[in-house]
Amino acid sequence: VRPVEMTDARDRDLLRRIALGDRESFRRLFARYAPTAMALARRVVRQAHLAEETVQEAFLAVWKKPGGYDPELGSVRAWLMSTVHHRAVDAVRREQAQRRRSDEAMLDAATVEYDHAEAVVEEIGLPEEREAVRQAMGSLPAEQRRVIELMYFEGLSQSRIAERLELPLGTVKSRTLLAMRRLRGELGWIRE
């Protein structure tokens, strides 16, 4: 059993306990994934307080409705991060009209480095996961990776990406699909 598979089993067990009102299990799930959730939220919304709100809302939803997880749709960790991501994208689109992004206020995407994690000790299995995902991203052609980064980490729609990169919308859509197919193959997740 690979460490990351053991993590899957433990996560599902934690969710079952959370559904029974087990606060300690909630804290364990939070401790395991909040650092990644916070990194994702910060990357998307780029404002510390908004990132914190986003993560807080996402985990509040987990506590209130752990049954929202559907094993048919994949792993607990992917579901959790998707929950955070959807909220972050919603938040950033709400804010886009009213704010200017400030490099001083939050991490700039270009300066995010992978070795800033001294303060966070890794869960067993997650280093392997991080390496696998980074390798999968690294396997993409640069033009596909750019589209994925703008969409996922900056919360841009395909239309906005087409404007930003001065590409036909159809090209952005096809690059998105090709990239996702490739990532699916690289990450090797197959629904049973």
């Binding site: 306990r17 029974l20 916070m38 985990f59 395909q158």
Partner: protein
């Protein structure tokens, strides 16, 4: 482009949060008319959801406020100082059973079982789960120059503090630590020879083993103390002092 391919294209962008409103509406319609009953499309939706969620793990993890989990529980009116769920199941497959262990210098099998409730002047860091606690404390204890002091009056399996003079990091840890009196939590303090005590993290022990990281060098003060407090954010210790540990340089 056939129907499968069109839906797949929309699903790929949807998983990444990249659909514009018109495309979102198109996906919803196509899903109702075709995707929901199409095994191939349902598979694509599941697989793209998984891929998108896991992209987050390409980022380095970020620090999280140590009281954030309890803030979430407070938002729904949950008490945060209860250490057990009213009902517990046997651990499922893959779950780990944590058992008390004897503490020793060469400790390699420890786990965190603690709820950090608040941080004061010393701050405090919520370790990311049991395995993180194990890893961090074992690594800290293995470093040369690490000292371990015991809190007096806490019993044979009570709390200890591991520290290295000159380093702004220490760990308070213990096995089967008794619960604080009803309505109170443990509160750590650094007690310098002169001047007011500096507040540290407040915590409630859980089952088994407890590890709290304190980003401070206790040898600078020379003494750590524990009190039981009703307010985890209290600025001054409430007498009596429950226990002290000498942490000389």
């Amino acid at each position: 482009m056939n129907e499968h391919e069109r839906v797949e294209e929309l699903l790929a962008a949807d998983a990444l949060g990249g659909l514009s409103s018109p495309d979102q509406a198109e996906l919803e319609q196509a899903w109702e008319e075709h995707g929901r009953t199409c095994e191939s499309c349902r598979r694509a939706r599941a697989e793209f959801s998984e891929v998108a969620g896991r992209l987050a793990f390409s980022l380095a993890p970020a620090a999280v406020p140590s009281d954030m989990a309890d803030r979430v529980l407070r938002l729904v009116g949950e008490p945060v100082d209860e250490k057990r769920a009213p009902e517990r199941e046997e651990p499922g497959e893959g779950a780990r059973v944590i058992r008390p262990v004897r503490w020793s210098r060469g400790l390699v099998a420890v786990a965190a079982a603690v709820t950090l409730l608040a941080v004061g002047g010393l701050g405090g860091f919520l370790l990311s789960g049991q395995d993180e606690g194990e890893t961090a404390l074992a690594a800290f204890l293995a470093e040369p120059g690490t000292r371990v002091a015991e809190f007096e009056g806490m019993g044979a399996s009570g709390l200890k503090v591991a520290y290295r003079p000159g380093e702004d990091q220490s760990y308070v840890f213990g096995s089967d630590v008794a619960a604080a009196p009803a309505g109170t939590v443990y509160k750590l303090w650094l007690v310098p020879g002169t001047g007011a005590p500096v507040p540290g993290p407040a915590f409630s022990p859980g089952d088994g083993l407890l590890i709290v990281e304190v980003p401070s060098d206790p040898s600078e003060a020379g003494t750590m103390a524990l009190t039981f407090e009703t307010d985890p954010d209290v600025a001054q210790p409430t007498p009596p002092i429950a226990s002290t540990a000498a942490t000389p340089a």
